[in-house]
Amino acid sequence: MDYAYWIDWQNTRCEILPKARIYLGEECCEKRLPPPKKVMYWANRLHDQGNTLTFITPFVSDAGLIQVNNILDALSSIYDSYEVVCNDWGVFSLVIGRPSCIPLIGRLLSRQDTDPRLAQILDRPFQESLERDVWHVDGTPVRLKYKPPSEEYKTHLRTPSIINNRVLSYLSKTGSHRLELNNPLQGLKLELIDGWKATIYIPDVIVSIKRHCSTCSISLGSLTPNCCNLSAEWIHPSFPVPLHSCGNALYYLNNVLPDGFEDMGIDRIVLNMRISST
């Protein structure tokens, strides 16, 4: 098992394990991408320490594409080869044209429902304890009963939609061979075709991206790189875990690895060092 460490590019005082794989960058907000000076600082520092690099890119506007392109230029001047996590097909098409870049399919492109309530669907005793009478609009009282999900539906819930032979074969031709995945509470089921491997992130699971940054309460267009460091905990009685609102993204935390993850082709764990509970 390969371990990698996702560090906060703003924290230049953080200690880095020599020769480890380091994840750097942002996946949810283009306004938080590091400026070129910071990119060069980190690239030089990590290269000198013998660290391998994976740069994470967010979904972007056309303006953000230019920014990403500039960052890749800077990184390519120092690293002969490095990985780029793509969370946007536009960024992906930019990356596959660069010989020094190895494209990885990011969590936002892997596409899987991660709503933590999905885990409750699979909890039979819990659901059966909630059976009750409800009223139909025609006035009939009706007994509401639990229906366990079919095996096909369970598979759907546990499998990112990118895991499709056609899609993976197509992506293989572009030089991609790695998927970056959430670790959702409902579990994972992966059947990767030959040549593909997967990464799992701990402990943060992305649930949704908001159009507005709740930390700032202003529109995304007005964000500054430092505005999203606070994380608020959102609690609702129908959710099995709290959500964490960080900037424009909502996460929950799951430290428990899925059963049999190594047999499913997961050979890398990314520890998100930007989250204090890691």
Binding site: F59, V60, S61, D62, L65, D88, W89, G90, V91, F92, S93, L94, D113, T114, D115, R117, L118, Q120, I121, F126, Q127, E131, R132, V134, W135, H136, V137, D138, T140, V142, R143, K145, Y146, K147, P148, P149, S150, E152, Y153, T155, H156, S161, I162, N164, R166, V167, Y170, S208, I209, R211, S214, S219, G221, A232, W234, I235, H236, S238, L243, S245
Partner: protein
């Protein structure tokens, strides 16, 4: 502004039943779209948002014959028709999804709204006559992403509602040979559609009468209905979360009596080359859909008739007030950076 003689933007309206097609066409819709959620799919994959992004039987056509009828009625009314197969699918689901696409094609349906890469690749292999519209669920936020999707035969793109009109315009300029569509009314969710992993389930609120399917079972005294999630309290965008001492509502105010609106931006959308205007609201009552189509049509007529270049915002706001009985506001504006002007 794109008001050359003969220029006519197309209003795309949601339908859930065949009977709605001609009513909406008469009101000004140039296109209808629907979802499909048949029993056999619900049995296997739930009645949640597993076949399109809208859950439940009231927001979808549920019978194959009715799906065919929607396509047929659209043809009769002289409007185009699109079927939303716009969510993510697992590999095992795709053969059935493709079957529905084939039924739609054979019935005379004209387009599919899609976002799943696996489905796009499968359609590319099969080469149906159906047009492929890239749903906003595909989350293509820049011109390169549009270019990426175009290799799969996309002829129209529904632009994500998180983009500004300026950003949309930039994309359109670089892809002038395909059509573009933008949301103009209803359903402005606080989350970004294609990047939202919350699911849309079915809530059974205490003491409130709602529509759902039920059956009589010999072993039960009462009729029975089944669900996978009996604890589902509502869409995450509608729930009130507690954050410390604060109550957080993710800004969602989805009230079809006071809908989210881009009517003040129609001129700008037209000028940006976005000529297909989508009205959200599958599952809404027919009269609400008709009202929505008429409102957008009238707002466009006001914009066209305006003698001056610019946004006849006050007149359109008045029209909103006349139509919905309430004032619009910045929170309800679809593209606040581009349209809403305090007057």
């Amino acid at each position: 502004m794109n008001t050359r003689p003969g220029y006519k933007p197309v209003i795309a309206a949601p339908v859930d039943e065949p009977v709605e097609v001609s009513l909406l066409a008469k009101s000004g819709a140039g296109e209808v779209y629907c979802g499909f959620l048949p029993r056999q799919w619900r049995e296997r994959y739930s009645g949640y948002d597993s076949l399109s992004r809208r859950q439940g039987i009231s927001a979808n056509v549920t019978v194959l014959e009715n799906l065919r009828m929607v396509a047929l009625e659209a043809k009769k009314a002289g409007v185009s028709s699109a079927l939303a197969l716009n969510v993510r699918y697992s590999q095992e689901m795709l053969p059935e999804v493709l079957e529905y696409a084939e039924v739609w094609e054979q019935a005379g349906g004209q387009a599919l709204l899609v976002s799943d890469l696996g489905l796009l690749l499968a359609l590319q292999e099969k080469q149906p006559r159906l047009n492929r519209f890239l749903s906003l669920m595909a989350a293509a936020f820049n011109s390169r992403a549009v270019g990426f999707y175009r290799q799969f035969g996309i002829s129209r793109m529904v632009l994500p509602r998180s983009l500004t009109i300026e950003e949309m315009h930039y994309i359109v300029k670089l892809h002038e040979d395909i059509e573009f569509e933008a949301m103009v009314l209803n359903d402005k969710c606080p989350y970004i559609d294609g990047l939202c992993n919350f699911y849309h389930g079915m809530a059974f609120p205490e003491g409130i009468r709602i529509p759902f399917e039920y059956q009589r079972a010999a072993s039960e005294q009462k009729p029975v209905t089944y669900a996978h999630d009996l604890f589902y309290a509502g869409h995450a965008c509608q729930l009130k979360f507690r954050a410390g001492k604060e109550i957080i509502n993710p800004d969602w105010d989805n009230d079809f009596c006071r809908p989210h609106c881009a009517a003040c931006c129609l001129q700008k959308l037209a000028s940006a080359g976005i000529n297909h205007w989508k009205i959200g609201g599958r599952g809404l009552p027919t009269e609400v859909k008709i009202k929505a189509v008429k409102f957008i049509k009238d707002a466009w007529n006001l914009a066209v008739d305006s003698p001056e270049e610019g946004i006849p915002c006050q007149e359109i706001k008045d029209l909103y007030k006349d139509t919905y009985g309430r004032h619009c506001s910045c929170e309800l504006c679809y593209y606040p950076e581009d349209g809403m002007v305090e007057v």
